[in-house]
């Protein structure tokens, strides 16, 4: 039997509009429960919802970025079901005529590329939040639940992929790519931990090319849990099939703590949402001009940017991935690049030293006190051999903390590296004279001794010796002694 894993994803992205999908309530995260609700999002009788233009624009941009066709006409439907987090007892969503259909997106898996088809990108509204109160703190065994409708009515873009994904790793890469796109488009902050990016999956195992039974997996709250849940489920289904049994069609929840998926107690009746067109909302007919304007607003997307960094700027993959993975960091890099320094050197510094400092101090790059031009100037001083790489690191640290320009720090501190041959020869000879043990160690073949002697040279020059020059002279003098 030949098994193949088949995965399709359904992703919800909370759009970062200021106001909700159909009313003027604020969408800000957090806040007092039920402080951001009004008759429209509470579903009071006689209210009239009106579509948020900003949400439509965000969803169209996302659809275009995923190569979807924008429907000339789309409508909203009511999806009817009873659940306490739905104040209206229906969710306004899109059904048979969605905003956009039929797209695709290529993911780069290193060894190969995978084209993932996009069934649709549509608009809907978010539900409220239930807080289950009781000893267990979970839905099972709760005594009662509190309903917070601040989230009810926040615009969501729903993205449904074709079952083109073939492994848990591909799922995770797809989701990360999608998140990067949404962040570059500026339409969502896509924080899985805050629930502004959510992902459900359908997974089945085809046997000798014959379609398997789909199982839906829910409650995967991080990229890691998406991978873990799908890997667990992949193994579980293969085990069931290997044992000659059949996979049951069901919905399973991922349990973060145990790393396993569990069957949800299924309701006896199948869901029957009784969709019908939302009579209070008129159709969306985005014209060509609007769509073209939105297309023009799409910035260079992460995948294109990565390709450009690698092919035009010759950045190694590790560096380009780090830079592109954070839109603000990429912008910083590109601003520094205008100063004319070597892109690879610059990329190394931004993705290495600078990023390390930012992370260490938990400062977003937008608030970094070292200007991109300042970093570029610092790198220039290194490439001109005015200061060493080691000195530059210290200067960067100081500039990072004080906000002073790096080139000023170098000038004021009288920092310059010693590469003058005569001066270095003097220092090196002193070091050799003062450390006969290390010298004889070196002569007997101990490479470590060279490092020790270099350390002494650095100490004597207070770190200012050009490492390349000093190493060259030291080795030369030691070998001549022999």
């Amino acid at each position: 039997m030949e098994f193949e894993t088949v995965i399709g994803l359904e992703i919800h992205i909370e759009l970062n509009t200021s106001s909700k999908m159909f009313c003027g309530c604020s969408t800000e995260f957090g806040g007092e429960p039920n402080a951001r609700a009004c008759p429209v999002c509470l579903g009071h009788p006689g209210v009239l919802p009106v579509v948020n233009r900003g949400a439509v624009e965000s969803a169209i941009m996302l659809a275009l970025a995923l190569n979807c066709k924008i429907s000339e006409r789309s409508i909203f439907h009511r999806k009817n079901y009873f659940y306490p987090d739905m104040p209206k007892n229906y969710q306004i969503s899109q059904y048979d005529v969605p905003l956009s259909v039929d797209g695709w997106f290529d993911i780069d898996m290193g060894e190969y590329e995978r084209r993932v088809g996009i069934v649709r990108v549509h608009l809907e509204e978010d539900t409220g939040k239930s807080i289950h109160v009781g000893e267990s703190g979970r839905i099972h065994g709760a005594e009662y639940s509190l309903e917070d409708f601040n989230r009810a009515g926040i615009p969501l873009a729903e993205i449904v992929t074709r079952p083109d994904i073939r492994s848990p790793e591909e799922s995770s890469v797809f989701l990360q790519n999608l998140r990067d796109i949404a962040v570059y488009l500026g339409i969502s902050d896509c924080k899985m931990e805050e629930g502004s990016l959510r992902c459900d999956a359908n997974i089945s195992i085809s046997v000798d090319g014959k379609e398997g039974t789909k199982v839906e997996i829910k409650n995967m709250n991080s990229f890691r849990s998406l991978r873990r849940a799908l890997s667990f489920e992949e193994e579980r289904q293969r085990g069931v099939l290997n044992a000659g049994r059949e996979v049951k069609q069901e919905t399973r929840h991922f349990d973060e703590v145990g790393g396993e998926t569990h069957s949800l107690r299924s309701k006896e009746e199948a869901f029957d949402y009784r969709y019908f067109p939302e009579p209070d909302l008129v159709p969306l007919e985005p014209d060509k001009e609007w769509t073209n304007d939105l297309r023009a607003k799409i910035p260079e997307l992460p995948q294109e940017k990565r390709k450009r960094y690698e092919s035009a700027l010759l950045l190694p993959k590790e560096i380009s991935s780090v830079l592109v993975g954070d839109r603000a960091l990429a912008e910083y890099f590109e601003r520094a690049l205008t100063e004319g320094q070597d892109p690879v050197e610059l990329g190394k510094w931004v993705s290495g030293e600078l990023l390390a400092l930012l992370r260490q101090e938990s400062i977003p790059v937008e608030e970094c006190r070292v200007e991109p031009s300042g970093l570029a100037n610092l790198i220039k001083l290194v490439s001109e051999k005015v200061i060493s790489g080691k000195m530059a690191k210290d200067v960067l640290r100081e500039a990072f903390d004080s906000g002073e320009r790096p080139e000023e720090i170098v000038k004021e501190g009288g920092l310059f590296q010693i590469s003058d041959e005569n001066e270095l020869v003097g220092v090196v000879d002193d070091v050799i004279k003062e450390n006969p043990m290390a010298v004889s160690d070196f002569k007997s073949g101990k490479e470590q001794a060279l490092k020790f002697l270099m350390g002494k040279v650095m100490k004597k020059t207070r770190g200012k010796a050009s490492p390349e020059e000093a190493t060259r002279i030291l080795t030369e003098r030691l070998e001549n002694q022999a």
Binding site: T17, S18, S19, C23, G24, C25, S26, E32, P33, N34, A35, R36, A37, C38, P39, L42, H44, V50, V51, N52, R53, G54, A55, V56, R73, I75, N80, F82, Y83, P84, V97, S130, H132, G134, I139, H140, A142, E143, Y144, S145, L146, E147, D148, F149, R265, E269, D272, R274, P277, P279, L281, V282, P283, L284, E285, P286
Partner: protein, 94 residues
Amino acid sequence: MAIEMEDVEHVAKLARLKFTHEEMKKLKRELDAVLEHARVIESIETEGVPPTSHAIPLVNVYREDVCEPSLERDEVIKCAPWAGEQGFMVPKII
């Protein structure tokens, strides 16, 4: 084809409504009449007629993405059959 009693029960259940057997029988007759009407409509030739989802000839009605004040929390909660300081309360779900 007439509607079955089970269908009436199913629809009632989805709408969270409880009926006596007598009421169910009455509803079954009424739903039959509705479906019969739908069958009449279905017999009309609609080839080439675009599907109608809305009765008014209006499209693209939008509001700008601007916040407006929400209701006061007390106002929000006032209509709830059961509420605490933090908001709406509902009996256990599962």
